[in-house]
């Protein structure tokens, strides 16, 4: 058979996929493989036109990173994509057991619809707790985390104990790596409970919103001083961590910060409080208008611009402390950097494509009802079961994974189908939340152009990439990733 003449290119080949954003005289470019580069606008124009020649000083870097069509290393780039999106090959890794709706705090921003300590029919039974653990062990993920939450989970100690013992016994049988975690305000912790948790390798996490006046203003506790109880038991678990014993691993305790309106402008005091109490990680979490927080949003809420300003100032201060030798890193930044710098999945279900609703995490309500996530459970508490995916007693694992709500969340959080996200420079690292979209904008898809959560994430990514651009900033931030 006669060979056809090979087609000749008559014009320069443009770049392959290119996501970009102008920042003054510079341009940030990214691609789906997770690579990024900063270019001067004039060099970006050359790249976009396919006119960036081999002799250009940026050519080698851009070719290496998959921005030059004629130099694509398909196998290498595909491997990078697979690594960054490894979660697509497994099922839910995070299983949140809401052991009780009862709580002895009344936090201003509480999204968990906590009920009072005396509330009835608000606890997970021991039987349901065991069934929930059995269900979680059916996940197609070889490594799972079971996280005990509430309300205040220590108020249902019997169910907590039963679930921990069931998980430890079941893990071996199921051949799974099982991590256990408790999220508690610590006010009901005792030596006996602490020892049980430590000896069964349950890591502990609490909330610390800053110095005592700020923490106690956010986290109302009629039984005493919330801040004092938090610090007391943080120190206890830190001591236990320092004195490891053979037979079981003791984990470092961790703390979460929830930023309310009262936190704005006080970033230095908050970060100093974390450093003062020996915490090496601070997770600066924005508030979302879901659940109880929605009702008092006018009092405690803020917009994307205000949070971004707070986050930028916090990151700057943490960076300064790092340069002076203090060990402290911002957890959200660390997780994003794991993707940006190392092209690895950090396991953060809130920022991935598709989002982790049901396929990455499941929330088990006190009555056995299953939801796409904790936020979806809170929408359910308000009387809307859009995000309910089944019941631990009535439904099989496969039925839950194939439920209408599961599929709807997967489809609506696919960034390839989101008009703004599909061409956003931060798309390789970001994710949308169908629950947030539904609660705030009235549809699972939302409208990113007017979406405050989108604005918030753009602010965070903007801050990170700006810091990565600085020579000193890059070195410090790269250490945070993969720690």
């Amino acid at each position: 058979m006669a060979q056809k003449n090979p087609a000749k290119r008559t014009s320069p080949a443009g770049p392959p996929q290119l996501l970009w954003r102008r920042e003054g005289a510079d341009c940030l470019v990214t691609n789906d493989f997770g690579h990024y580069a900063w270019l001067k606008c004039k060099d970006f124009n050359l790249l976009a036109a396919g006119s960036l020649g081999e002799k250009h000083p940026k050519y080698a870097e851009l070719a290496d990173k998959g921005f030059v069509r004629d130099r694509l290393d398909f196998e290498g780039l595909a491997a990078k994509w697979r690594s960054k999106n490894a979660y697509l090959g497994t099922g839910p890794g995070l299983h949140i057991l809401v052991l009780t709706l009862r709580c002895n705090h009344k936090c201003l921003y509480c999204q968990s619809a906590a009920a009072g300590v005396g509330a009835r029919n608000a606890d997970m039974s021991v039987e349901t707790a065991r069934k929930s653990v059995d269900f979680a062990l059916q996940s197609s993920n070889p490594a799972i985390t079971i996280e005990f939450q509430g309300g205040e989970p220590l108020l249902n100690w019997e169910a907590l104990k039963a679930a921990v013992l069931r998980a430890r016994a079941g893990a071996k049988k199921a051949g799974k790596q099982v991590s256990l975690a408790l999220v508690s305000n610590f006010s009901l912790m005792t030596e006996e409970k602490a020892s049980f948790l430590v000896e069964n390798e349950v890591s502990v996490c609490t909330s610390l919103d800053g110095p005592a006046d700020l923490h106690n203003r956010n986290r109302l506790f009629s039984g005493g001083n919330s801040h004092a109880a938090t610090i007391k038991w943080l120190k206890y678990f830190q001591e236990r961590y320092k004195h490891q014993v053979p037979g079981y691993r003791t984990f470092k305790p961790s703390a979460l910060l929830t930023v309310s309106r009262y936190s704005l402008g006080r970033h230095k005091e908050i970060i100093d409080e974390y450093v003062k109490h020996g915490l090496e990680d601070i997770f600066i979490r924005p508030l979302a208008p879901i659940g109880y927080a929605k009702k008092c949003w006018g009092q405690i809420g803020y917009g994307a611009a205000e949070f971004t300003k707070f986050y930028l100032a916090s990151l700057d201060y943490i960076h300064k402390l790092n340069r002076n030798g203090t060990v402290i890193r911002e957890k959200m930044a660390a997780m994003m950097l794991e993707k940006i710098v190392n092209s690895r999945d950090p396991g953060y279900v809130d920022a991935r494509c598709p989002c982790g609703a049901a396929i990455g995490q499941i929330a088990y309500n006190y009555n056995g009802d299953l939801y796409t996530c904790d936020e979806g459970r809170m929408v359910g508490w308000e009387g809307d079961d859009t995000f309910r995916i089944g019941n631990v007693r009535a439904d099989s694992y496969r039925k839950v994974m194939a439920s209408a709500a599961t599929r709807a969340c997967v489809l609506s959080s696919n960034l390839e189908s989101q008009p703004d996200c599909a061409r956003c420079v931060y798309k390789p690292y970001c994710g949308v939340c169908p629950v947030y979209n539904y609660e705030v904008q009235g549809s699972l898809w939302g409208d990113m152009a007017a979406n405050d959560r989108c604005g918030l994430f753009k602010g965070i990514f903007g801050a990170l990439f700006a810091l990565l651009k600085k020579p000193g900033g890059e070195a410090i931030l790269k250490k945070w990733a993969g720690k």
Partner: protein, 99 residues
């Protein structure tokens, strides 16, 4: 005292908005107004009745534009989007990879 409910109407340019996009937007706004979409002179006639306080037709049209952009994008990206969604759902359900 009864809250005043308002009525509005406009014509959507068929070169920009498809009937499907308008219907999708109508569903999103179903808790804020009764929306009717039908062919009209010069385009698609959209009428709003029993509009809740604070409702503005501009917000509806923004949502219609959002939906139209999504439909347009789906024409280009549906294959890639479908592969990702299928992979995610099958993996979560524990489907083993075919040899």
């Amino acid at each position: 005292m009864k809250e005043e409910k308002k009525e509005f109407s406009l014509t959507a340019d068929p070169r920009v908005y498809s009937a499907e996009a308008l219907r999708l937007a109508a569903f999103v706004f179903s808790d804020r107004a009764e929306v009717c979409v039908k062919p009209g002179k010069g385009g698609l006639a959209v009428s709003f009745a029993s509009a809740a306080p604070g409702f503005h037709p501009g917000d509806f049209m923004n949502e219609a534009l959002n939906q139209q952009c999504r439909l347009d994008l789906a024409k280009k990206n549906s294959k890639a989007a479908g592969m990702i969604a299928t992979k995610a759902l099958l993996s979560a359900a524990g489907e083993k990879k075919k040899a």
